[in-house]
């Protein structure tokens, strides 16, 4: 990212006193990439080429390219969990885009000091729902054109628009509000957990990860009001533990994971295989003594 990197690489300067001072260390923003392209084909590398041609110094970090094809909300859930681990000013490009070439628009979302670029298909719904300062802009082809960008191909807007636009945003050469009109975006099916009238907390199963953990939309802070939380899914009840090794062998437990989300896990086993929950299934938290 030219701006921040330039800052980092600028030689130490002398103040009036003549003492060398070091520029303050600021974490450089990065561009993260999330897609359903898989790694068998060169599509990810091609998108990276276009980004690096506009921002040669930027750090590109792959989140995952193994989103199930055509499941944009799975990508959105991972982004929702992961973006706080990146420096402010980072740009997150997420291309799960079954509607490419059709009428769907592309959104730039500004939220919590980060920028997100994705098709308007629900992918960014969770982030928009959970950030009070979220502002979405609908990409205007004219604004793109001023950046030398266009929907050149009918099938790969990640390469032709979303990736290079991420480079422009990360380089600070354009602001989201210059890219199009404010808009409401499609919110999708996944939503942050809510308290029901009865006092129960209700969230959803969102993703099954590589280790077989069942990840939910319930956040650590949602659980704070509970003294002795009991977690329910599909007629089963799970105790809340601190970490994987607190589980008994073969026990399925609930815990707050490294993304500060509630997950169900089996120690050295697969909760996903055990419970086989459908994505979107309700997960409840009750007070055990209630």
């Amino acid at each position: 990212m030219p701006t921040a990197r330039a800052r980092a690489e600028r030689p130490r300067t002398r103040r009036a006193t003549g003492r060398r001072v070091s520029p303050r260390r600021v974490a450089s923003p990065v561009i993260t990439l999330t897609s359903d392209f898989g790694l068998h084909d060169p599509y990810v590398g091609i998108m990276k080429s276009r980004i690096l041609q506009r921002a040669p110094q930027i750090a590109l970090i792959d989140l995952t390219h193994e989103i199930a094809p055509f499941q944009p909300e799975q990508a959105g859930y991972w982004l929702w969990c992961a973006y706080p681990q990146f420096p402010a000013g980072s740009v997150h490009v997420a291309v799960v885009d079954p509607g490419v070439g059709g009428a769907r628009v592309i959104i730039v979302l500004e939220a919590a000091g980060h920028h997100f670029i994705a098709p308007d298909n629900g992918l960014l719904g969770l982030i928009a729902r959970s950030c009070s300062d979220a502002r979405a802009y609908r990409l205007d082809p004219k604004a793109l054109s001023a950046l030398g960008l266009s929907f050149a191909s009918a099938t790969f807007h990640g390469r032709d628009v979303m990736g290079p636009l991420g480079a422009e945003l990360a380089a600070g050469r354009v602001r989201p509000e210059r890219l199009g009109e404010r808009t409401e975006l499609l919110l999708g099916q996944l939503r942050p957990a809510v308290r029901t009238r009865s006092g129960a907390l209700e969230g959803q199963v969102a993703v099954l990860d590589h280790f077989g953990n069942v990840l939910t939309t319930i956040g650590a802070e949602d659980l704070r009001p509970f003294r002795a939380p009991q977690v329910l899914l599909g007629g089963h009840s799970f105790r809340l533990v601190h970490t994987y090794t607190d589980a008994r062998p073969d026990e399925c437990v609930a815990l707050i994971n490294s993304s500060a989300r509630l997950e169900l896990a089996v120690r050295e086993g697969s909760a996903a295989a055990r419970l086989q929950p459908p994505i979107g299934a309700a997960v409840q938290v009750l007070e055990r003594n209630a």
Copy 2:
């Protein structure tokens, strides 16, 4: 790539007028990597280490490491589609090398302003066939030796020769014509589409991608003479549409993809699973009204 990077990082200079001027922005060449190494073993990382030791600033971009083992032409097809997306001067290292340690030679191909390094096993045939300025050189162990390179291991010439040589080429420290004699390379089975005497266009199925698209050797420009093209494969006929969303649900259509190649696709489904075409199968284009 030291040369270009040095250019990019040079501080802004003042002209006689005293105004700051920005150095002209030039896309830096990169090294792309394509292999059948997979990502389960550390072979890709080891090859990257050797490249970065010779070109610490170069951008390395993975195209894919999931080429089916021992299918060099699959790698060559992807390179043929992808290389135009990279800046001139880029170096493309492709290691699908079942003959490693045997009598096969290694080729450096210069074509269309790019450099390609691969075993002489047909991998570079499509690119050589389609670029009129293609010039192939057969690596001479003596020339390698002058660069401090040798076929040290009998089983990993990607690490010992092709990767580090890519670094030398990208850094501009050696020219292909210094690396060995001009040669003809093995052309392989895949070839660009041709017009038959009857006026039909005939190409081949080349690759089945991650989304289930069936990719062919027919290029966008090959289709230009047709007013109402009809695409034929395995006794079935397909209409040509603009993009995926133009297809009816479950319909298999033909379209020009983002690499400017003809592909067969099912909207949110798999044409590969539907058609199960053998690699190399003939794909024809006829004038519908003919």
Copy 3:
């Protein structure tokens, strides 16, 4: 890596003579990453973000993230094979950590001019056993705290400790002996090959790679005393050849691979599928004429 990179980027300096001299080219250390995270979830990218925030210029190289979950010694074997391919001063972060959050400690191992960071679960046993200068330190939470690091999450110490600590080591901002007390580490089940009383060489099957090769703990130098080595595994005997193409079609052979380890291989086929050896199975080398 700030230190080394600064060296590399420092403008050419003039000696007293006024002639420009180029700084000596030194291969910059890198950070390698090995884990069982897989590439379906964003965990690898999240760990990289934390590393780059502390060492923005470092080269990060993925060895593999596809270690079978909870098989730390598989990761250790790959590291043992791969680390000599990286420049001295490199840092190798290996996170296969089923005991995360429990009582297991984290080790920093200094050996052969490299640094290794991993949980104390046997992962680093092979390297420690085979390097006479290996020195292990057990991470002290207080020393971490001085670096602004803590076991913040109960489930992801790769992100919170091992990755960022790798950045500090690679940047030369901390020395292993400042991180905790010297310790003995868990050695695990895999060990370098040994000569038995009868003069046979005995090693173990360690890993089955992506190509179906069966990799062992027997090193090239272990074989040197043998004039006509015969390799035995599971009641079968294999001849030692130079490279894959020396094998007859369908023959399973032994050879010294690119990591200088003995492996069993079938030319353009899978020795792993053919032999199905358990990990840890004994592999013997005898003198054929004995």
